[in-house]
């Protein structure tokens, strides 16, 4: 009985990932970050542009995260809920404002720490590998603790390999490597997401007459 109980719980958790919308949205955010770092790479270091871009990173991230959450809700509202139903999960609930501020402060502190370490070491060449491992570990933990879906292992593996590979390439700037990391990983997530969404739409046509009671 306990096994059945756990299987049902797992099945309900899988439902959030069934449509691939989360991957498409996060992939889109990563592509935006890729464009940001590409812009960084292209502007002249002698101008004021790099300074403005550095300051803009916080806004790109904040705006990107909020927009990603909104887009996921909108797409799920129009695509998923009418087809297979609405579920509200505990992890979808907004944190209280003090916790949100604390999380953002921790994020900013983390970025500052990376910059300090980079300056101290004298190079940022290690950054893509570091990010690759961090995202890889997050995705792997996500697969084991929350989703149980095998595809998150593939995402984790790509993140580690891509980040490591870009760090090993010599002669390219850190911004250029980061642009490639976010661009390729973002495109990978979007392609997976679109594939999963296409399967989902094929398997779940809109119910006739609505199923709400």
């Amino acid at each position: 009985m306990e096994q059945n109980y756990l299987e049902i719980q797992q099945r309900v958790r899988h439902y959030w990932f069934k449509d691939g919308i989360g991957e498409i949205a996060v992939g889109g955010l990563f592509i935006a970050l890729s464009l940001y770092f590409a812009g960084h790479h292209m502007v002249s270091p002698a101008s004021n542009a790099p300074l403005y871009l550095n300051l803009g990173l916080f806004f790109v991230l904040a705006f990107g995260v909020v927009l990603t959450r909104k887009l996921i809700t909108i797409f799920k509202m129009h695509i998923t809920y009418p087809r297979t139903g609405y579920v509200e999960y505990y992890f979808e609930r907004q944190f209280p404002l003090p916790v949100q501020i604390l999380l953002w402060a921790a994020g900013v502190l983390f970025v500052v720490l990376l910059v300090v370490i980079g300056r101290w070491v004298g190079t940022f060449q290690w950054l893509p590998a570091f990010l690759g491992v961090v995202f890889g570990l997050i995705l792997f933990a996500f697969r084991t603790t929350t989703s149980g879906l095998m595809r998150f292992n593939y995402h984790a593996a790509l993140s580690v390999l891509l980040g490591g590979g870009l760090s090993l390439m010599s002669g390219i700037s850190a911004q250029y490597s980061l642009s490639w990391y976010y661009g390729v990983f973002g495109a990978w997530l979007v392609v997976w997401g679109v594939g999963i969404l296409a399967t989902y739409l094929r398997e779940n046509p809109l119910p006739e007459g609505g199923a709400d009671e």
């Binding site: 009985m1 306990e2 109980y5 049902i8 719980q9 099945r11 309900v12 958790r13 439902y15 509202m77 809920y81 009418p82 297979t84 139903g85 609405y86 579920v87 509200e88 999960y89 505990y90 979808e92 609930r93 119910p207 199923a211 709400d212 009671e213």
Partner: protein, 102 residues
């Protein structure tokens, strides 16, 4: 027969019914779920699911709300604290019984 084994006769009949057990198990892992999701997951007909949800609502185990998500009408079901407690007790009783008899 020990009291542990005899306790199986005290099982909550409202939750013990397989369809209702499935519904409360699904709802125990989420904040809320709508009628369509529950129908798809349980494989029950609309009428059957409605009847089971009404029974659970009467017992105070499930709260049913008619609401809107954007412009879509939804019938959202939530497991109440009493429902959560009843499910936990039911699982404990069944586990104890299985342990003693295996």
């Amino acid at each position: 027969m020990s009291d542990d084994l005899r306790s199986v006769t005290d099982l909550d009949r409202i939750i013990h019914e397989p369809a209702r057990l499935l519904v409360v198990t699904i709802l125990s892992g989420v904040v809320s779920a709508d009628f369509l999701f529950l129908q798809r997951e349980t494989g029950l007909t609309k009428g059957n699911l409605s009847a089971h949800l009404s029974r659970l609502e009467e017992a105070g185990y499930v709260k049913i709300e008619k609401t809107f998500k954007g412009k879509f009408p939804l019938t959202v079901c939530k497991l109440t604290a009493a429902g959560q407690k009843a499910l936990s007790k039911y699982r404990e009783q069944v586990q104890n019984f299985m342990k003693k008899t295996s």
